[in-house]
């Protein structure tokens, strides 16, 4: 009878070995399976010599060991139900073996009845195998699908990684381009300034030359007066000379300041904040912007109004950065009034106003023009990079977006816009004092 138990053990090992045929775990377990099969096949005839009872107990032990071993190993987890299905058979094996040893007569008397539990347990194992095989097949399908999914995921991940790297490269290119654009925007605004700067330098230089020349003449005249003995007149001339020299110094410094301002404007921002007289800065760039446009287009003219608040505190700013913002706002304002002037010259008085005021520990700079105003539908876009209403080639669309960065990010300030179509536009910069 013990043949059933050996058969069950052999089938168990064989079946599990079979399912491992295509598994990556096969190399690991293959020798073990073969050894087990051989051992079971050999154990049967040898133990049979000792009699059916002992043989059954040995077979039960083998089965028990196999189940115990299988349940312990992670690799055989899917076979758990199948392995556990052997418990009844193992129980039957021990009971049958022991009974046969202790009561051999009893067993041989009821030989045919003792077959029933053995076969039942054996069939039970087979039944469980069929059920678990079905389950295994499903698991197999799932694991195949899983593998397919894994492959797809890996493919997509590779694609995404590629795309990410491409995007990274593009981003770096864009950042480099942005830097170049900022630099060229600076140079563009410098180009617009050049004529204004030339005019602004020419004027003081003329005064330096003229006052020097006239002073030389005055010295001759003074000598004449001294020779004549007219001391009073000579003293008057001397006073004039002194005034002239101070005017020469004044205009020399004026030109100096303009050149320095120009150099500062073109230089990469030092980002060094220094106490700055806002009125002076605004006035300087107001004139530069105006004369720059005048030089480019002689038909252009505008009323310049300044309302500079007195007792304005000096403000800690990067002067060339804020200067650039002001220049940009002035240029925009002049452009707006010029456009309107072109449309209807009758009775229209182009006016650009700059006002400063200190209030609530802040300094406000307002640039207002009575040009065509900003249409409602573009108001939200004017601070966006590359947005421009100017014809292609005339505006970079970076002026206001750079201004926004300088004021808001660089100086913790604000830029506010008020505008009414066909009436006015007003930009107000506020910077904490």
């Amino acid at each position: 009878m013990s043949v059933f138990f050996y058969l069950a053990a052999f089938i168990m090992v064989t079946r599990i070995a079979k399912t491992f045929k295509f598994s990556p775990l096969r190399p690991k377990w293959k020798p073990m399976f073969s050894t087990a099969q051989l051992a079971i096949a050999l154990a049967y005839p040898f133990s049979e010599i000792a009699g059916d009872g002992i043989s059954s107990i040995i077979a039960g032990g083998i089965l028990l060991y196999l189940v115990y071993f299988g349940l312990r190993e992670q690799d055989f987890k899917p076979f758990k139900p199948y392995l556990e299905a052997h418990y009844p058979l193992i129980g039957v094996a021990f009971v049958y073996g022991l009974t046969k040893l202790i009561l051999p007569k009893f067993v041989s008397e009821y030989e045919e009845y003792s077959l029933i539990p053995i076969v039942a347990a054996f069939i039970y194992v087979l039944g469980r195998w069929a059920a678990s095989k079905k389950q295994m097949e499903q698991i197999n399908i799932f694991s195949q699908r899983n593998a397919e999914l894994d492959r797809l995921v890996a493919e997509r991940t590779a694609e995404l990684t590629n795309q990410k790297e491409e995007l990274q490269a593009t981003l770096e290119q864009l950042q480099a381009t942005q830097q170049q654009l900022i630099q060229s925007e600076k140079l563009a605004s410098l180009g617009e300034l050049t004529a204004g700067i030339a005019h602004e330098i020419q004027n003081p230089l003329n005064f330096v030359n003229n006052f020097s020349e006239v002073s030389m003449e005055l010295i001759d005249e003074m000598k004449e007066e001294l020779e004549k003995g007219d001391k009073e007149e000579a003293t008057a001339i001397a006073n004039d000379l002194k005034d002239n020299l101070s005017k020469i110094i004044h205009h020399g410094r004026r030109a100096d300041g303009i050149v320095k301002g120009m150099l500062q404007h073109s230089r990469a921002s030092s980002n060094v904040k220094e106490p700055t007289d806002i009125n002076k800065l605004a006035d300087e760039y107001f004139r530069l912007a105006y004369h720059g446009l005048r030089a480019k287009d002689k038909s252009f003219n505008a009323e310049l109004e300044t309302h500079f608040g007195d007792q304005l505190p000096t403000v800690n700013i990067v002067p060339q950065d804020v200067g650039r913002v002001l220049l940009n706002l002035f240029n925009n304002a002049f452009y707006a009034v010029h456009q309107k002037q072109k449309d209807n010259s009758e009775g229209y008085k182009p006016t650009v106003t700059v006002s400063t005021i200190a209030k609530d520990k802040q300094v406000f700079i307002t640039v207002r023009d009575n040009g065509n105003g900003i249409p409602e539908e573009v108001k939200d876009k004017i601070m966006q990079p590359f947005f421009t209403t100017k014809p292609t080639g005339e505006g970079t669309g970076l002026g206001l977006s750079l201004s926004y960065d300088i004021i808001v990010k660089g100086h913790n300030g604000k830029i506010d816009v008020k505008s009414e179509e066909n009436s006015y536009t007003e930009f107000t910069i506020s910077i904490p004092g």
Binding site: D240, H251, H291, A295, E303
Partner: protein, 125 residues
């Protein structure tokens, strides 16, 4: 001879007074000044009969020299004062525009005072 100088730069005034020191002393010339086109027009309203010559800068904030010229030519026909335009931009376009707007002469900055003096002396006769 009374001359009105129109320029937004205030330092032009002592410069003219000193340059023409002798002539002023000898009462050959008399100078008055205006800092803007508007101011010049106000001045003209009162004293246009006295003014013989107007020297005006073109590039001024507000009313430009050319506008002033047109207004003078429009408002004062008899006797027409002599108007000389002065500008830092001495290009042909500027000159033509000034001359066609009715300027008698066109001078470029920096002003050559000796040349100006000669021109003024010619006008005297």
């Amino acid at each position: 001879m009374k001359i009105l100088v129109v320029d937004d730069e205030a330092d032009v005034q002592p410069l003219f007074l000193q340059r023409f020191r002798k002539e002023i002393k000898n009462h050959e010339f008399e100078f008055d000044f205006a800092l803007s086109g508007e101011e010049a027009l106000d001045y003209m309203k009162e004293k246009h009969s006295e003014i013989v010559l107007i020297l005006s800068d073109i590039n001024m904030p507000g009313m430009s020299g050319l506008e002033l010229l047109l207004r003078i030519r429009h408002d004062y026909e008899v006797p027409p004062p002599v108007v000389m335009m002065i500008t830092a931009y001495g290009d042909d376009e500027n000159r033509n525009q000034a001359m066609s707007s009715g300027a008698n002469d066109f001078l470029t900055k920096p002003l050559d005072f000796n040349l100006l003096k000669e021109k003024l002396k010619e006008l005297e006769h």
